[in-house]
């Protein structure tokens, strides 16, 4: 990004979500910001990355010049395979998703509502859309995390009372990271869990389109070094 948004970098956002992954989890990362979750150092945790095109157990991006033209992740990036990787066809890949075997999917979004609805397949005023595997993943993964910028380029909030564009799934989002902080969707509404350095609660409230539950004191967003 040429013009860096205030608060957390995209990598810091994804590092924070990646800290929530449990040992042995099967993780599906959406295209865009969420792909950065795979850069996190998981230490002793074993994480299996699943890609909707049937790649189970992929590793880091291939080095430039070392790409295997037969191997991409969901975003079309050339990845590598880790020992123990497996390939299945598309129907089996979504059988894995639909049968509830994905522990978490991390997706990008245009909007997340305080009731856990979110929207990421159709921009405002657009004809048609780009769903990809998002509706299957959102409806079926055990957890749905969202990583997105806190507001649009024009300053409109992305955390809202109700989605203003067509939803991808209803009531499924657990956790949201933005450049301003970490937020949980709770039965009481949207709760600020951790705050980004250099950002105030007032700034966050002003840039949020729904009621924000703010416990006191509010801890800073945990970073890689403080994990």
């Amino acid at each position: 990004m040429s013009e860096r948004a205030k608060g957390l970098s995209r990598q810091q956002m994804c590092d924070r979500l990646a800290m929530e992954f449990g040992d042995g989890w099967i993780v599906n990362l959406g295209i865009g910001i969420p792909t950065l979750c795979s850069n996190f150092d998981f230490g002793d945790k074993e994480i299996i990355f699943h890609s909707e095109n049937g790649v189970i157990g992929y590793g880091p991006l291939a080095a430039a010049g070392k790409e295997d033209l037969h191997l991409v992740n969901a975003g079309g990036q050339h990845v590598t395979l880790r020992p123990g990787a497996a390939i299945v066809h598309h129907a089996d890949s979504f059988a894995i998703i639909r049968s509830g075997r994905i522990d978490v999917t991390v997706l990008g979004a245009y909007e997340v509502a305080e009731n856990g609805d979110f929207a990421n397949w159709k921009m405002a005023g657009q004809q048609g859309g780009g769903i990809g595997g998002a509706m299957d993943l959102a409806a079926c993964a055990r957890h749905v995390f969202v990583a997105m910028e806190h507001h649009t380029r024009s300053g409109a909030p992305r955390l809202v009372e109700r989605c203003t564009i067509p939803a991808t799934a209803r009531g499924v989002v657990d956790l949201v990271i933005t450049n301003f902080g970490l937020f949980a969707i709770t039965p009481r509404g949207l709760e600020l869990k951790e705050i980004a350095p250099g950002v105030t609660v007032d700034e966050i409230s002003a840039a949020t389109g729904c009621n924000l539950i703010v416990p006191a004191p509010i801890p800073p967003v945990r970073t890689r070094s403080g994990a």
Partner: protein
């Protein structure tokens, strides 16, 4: 089985009999396993009023400049309907040939969640007329459609999607039509082969004699495969190109 008859000398001969109004599935995901040469052959053959089924209507970064994709068939006026998981650009900066034809009402675009798209073809290939899935429940796509609650959870009814033709790309084939794919090349390809009345395959390696692929290593059995064509080396045949170094 007359294995020899499955080997076709050219893409043009392999697609010659496609009639107007056919439903054709094109495999591939982000150019990997994309039947680039068969897209070109169908564009040249000229069949019209086609319904085209694919993950998306465009290639990706590794598609060589000028290589055929569904966009070419759309510009030829051959396509009246697409059934895809992507029917609009995913970024404001992206252009999609499909979009202007949909906006003018020239093409109907049916948008389907990717897993539902795969399962509709799997069902067609498995003799299952319809199924229920939780994907798209509560969304615009489910409006006015049949849902049913099983064990307290709502599911959406989806129908099988049979194909007249499947166009796919494989790594290896033997003369009996048994196929092997490499890495993520498998994607939709073996699923589309089961859903189609006629499956046409562009093959990367030299076509192997019958029996050269161990039966345990076959990813798509030859009974699902009807026509196979070896892809010539470039420039006669289309191959993905390495990504441009950033």
């Amino acid at each position: 089985m007359s294995a020899r008859s499955k080997i076709y000398p050219s893409f043009a001969e392999a697609v010659r009999d496609i009639p107007d109004g056919a439903t054709i599935g094109f495999g591939g995901f982000a150019v990997v396993g994309m039947p680039i040469n068969l897209y070109g052959a169908v564009a040249a053959q000229g069949a019209k009023d086609l319904t085209c089924v694919s993950n998306s209507t465009r290639g990706g970064a590794t598609l060589p400049p000028g290589a055929p994709d569904m966009g070419q068939m759309i510009q030829n006026g051959q396509v009246t309907k697409v059934i895809c998981a992507f029917t609009a650009p995913t970024r404001a900066s992206q252009q999609l040939i499909l979009s202007e034809y949909v906006a003018k009402g020239l093409i109907e675009a049916e948008l389907v969640p990717q897993g539902t798209l795969a399962e509709r073809m799997r069902a067609a290939g498995a003799g299952i007329p319809a199924f229920y899935t939780p994907a798209a429940v509560g969304t615009e796509l489910a409006e006015g459609r049949e849902t049913r609650v099983f064990k307290g959870r709502e599911y959406l009814l989806e129908h099988a999607l049979p194909l007249d033709y499947a166009m796919i790309r494989a790594y290896q084939a033997d003369a009996a039509g048994n196929l092997r794919f490499r890495r993520s090349q498998r994607n939709f390809n073996p699923v589309m082969a089961t859903a189609a009345r006629i499956t046409i395959v562009e093959v990367e390696e030299e076509i192997l004699p019958v029996g050269a692929i161990d039966p345990d290593d076959v990813h798509a059995a030859g009974i699902f495969v009807h026509r196979i064509v070896k892809i010539p080396p470039p420039p006669e045949g289309w191959w993905p190109q390495p990504p441009a170094s950033a």
